[in-house]
Symmetry: C2
Subunit: 314 residues, 2 copies
């Protein structure tokens, strides 16, 4: 614990689930000296101070970043342009400016032009999260064993990329370098479309006449329940994801809908072989995700809340 911290001063712009988890982990693992933060609401700033995860909390983003050698934007991506304009003049030469947004081309577009000469702009995206929001939702282990994607622009300072990679590795992540356009395509299918269809089916049940909402809730253990979890994710964050990754989301959604129409047709015409073949193929991908350490093999679909102590013993 007595080793030199990787950065002298970390500034977090936003301390929701991701920002507060970075603060928890960075503090616990002694990765930074001072941690400052800003948040739009006074209550959030106070909570961050009360939790003891930041040393200072500022109403002004410019004040928060002053003197920082690592600045990480942890706000909804729709706010990045305004934030970049606010902090631009306050960034220190040699500082690294990064973020945790779920889209990357839009970040390059909105923030890139406002980064002053001598500041190293290296967008990032830790592929980790829970369905919960706010500074109290964070925990130090969130990034353990999860991938963090960095999208340094062409010609980025290699030393800065290495330092930021090292920071994420110490937060527990495996780090991958990727082109922002490719990032947005990969995440469209692995994250954005799953969220969209989960939001959509939960929204659909809200409007049915033949089945009541009380019935849906009672029998949700049949499968629906699993979708409500990710459909409880932060609405503003996800609004901004869809508005800022439109092209890739619409392209992948087109594929999803086309394939769904084919299954619909197979059901209508009673093509059992086609259904069984599709449902068999999908099992293999599940096994590969478990083998890759990205999920547990324990059966979870039937977990029962009335006996959590028994479940935990398994």
């Amino acid at each position: 614990m007595s080793s030199e911290p990787l950065f002298k001063h970390l500034a977090l712009i936003g301390v929701g689930l991701i920002g507060s988890s970075i603060a928890h982990a960075a503090r616990e693992r002694n990765l930074v000296g001072h941690i400052s933060c800003t948040a739009r609401s006074e209550a959030t700033r106070q909570t961050a101070l009360d939790l003891g995860i930041v040393d200072s909390a500022h109403a002004s983003a410019g004040d928060a970043v002053t003197g920082a050698d690592l600045v990480i934007l942890c706000a909804p991506v729709g706010a990045y342009g305004a934030i970049a304009a606010d902090i631009s003049a306050h960034l220190s030469p040699g500082a690294i400016l990064s973020d945790v947004g779920s889209v990357k081309q839009a970040v390059v577009r909105d923030v890139g032009p406002l980064v002053p000469e001598g500041v190293h702009f290296i967008p990032g995206h830790p592929v980790a999260g829970t369905e919960q929001s706010g500074p109290e939702a964070g925990f130090a282990e969130l990034f353990d064993g999860r991938w963090c994607i960095l999208t340094p622009p062409p010609g980025a300072n290699q030393d800065a990329v290495d330092r930021l990679s090292g920071f994420w590795a110490k937060l527990g992540s495996m780090v991958e370098i990727m082109d922002p356009r490719h990032h947005d395509q990969v995440l469209a299918i692995t994250s954005h479309i799953p969220h969209l269809i989960a939001y959509n089916i939960v929204s659909t049940v809200d409007d049915l006449e033949k089945v009541t909402e009380a019935e849906v809730i009672k029998y949700s253990a049949g499968g629906f329940r699993d979708f409500t979890r990710i459909a409880a994710s932060d609405p503003v964050m996800w609004r901004d994801v869809f508005l800022n990754n439109r092209e890739a989301v619409l392209e992948m959604l087109g594929r999803f809908s086309e394939d769904l129409a084919a299954l619909q047709r197979a059901i209508r015409w009673g093509e059992g072989d086609k259904l069984e073949e599709t449902f068999t193929r999908t099992r293999r991908i599940r096994r590969e995700i478990i083998d890759a350490g990205q999920d547990l093999s324990d059966p979870d679909f039937g977990r029962w809340s009335s006996h959590p102590e028994e479940e935990e013993g398994e």
Copy 2:
């Protein structure tokens, strides 16, 4: 444990996840005397005997049900017609014939006409399960706190309905009586459509050119992972569900697709307010499911397999 069992002889036609869980729970809670079973494969019958969850295993379904006062069909619903033909002449007068199928109108259609006079036919559906299959996947607590829907035909013997309800209550379930047609509509949206879209998105990633399967697996913690779990469910069981609940599934799928098209349009035209409003509405339903004891509130989306012992301590 010395109280009189509810049934002298339980016969299970099929001992997969659900059948073996019934056997585990019925035995552990002393609900039945003898448990017999049949299964199509010799290996499955032997596994059921080796697990000690059945007293006898028979190659012939007719032999398995001989002398039973409770018979439960636990096979894929597409096999019910043939099974009913096989067992019809062997059912004892006064016996209850039930099942655990995820659709109910098709069961009434396929099995009903083959039930002999004096046998009480009361279809059932425990809304519980995991993504795992086979006799080894069963466990006694699967039904605890979950709903079991019974769909007795008009004029069903009330004493028989009460005895079957009592059996499911002792297995841990809350019991609801429902019309088969309404059952199929409720389950279409709470279970069948969720499974269909999960199978579909997992299948879609299999066919993409721009994103590799290795990338999807690596970054699956972004949301995709959650869908792979229910898309790993038994392919034959689910084939039969869709073939046998066609009308309700196609109707609910129509609603889902219509709503998805509206979200797609909102993304295309940058209607952030509409997106945010939809995503906010869906949070409430999640809270109600947790309040109803049908899921845990612990954040799960970010669960990390490399440190299960830490997670369990939360």
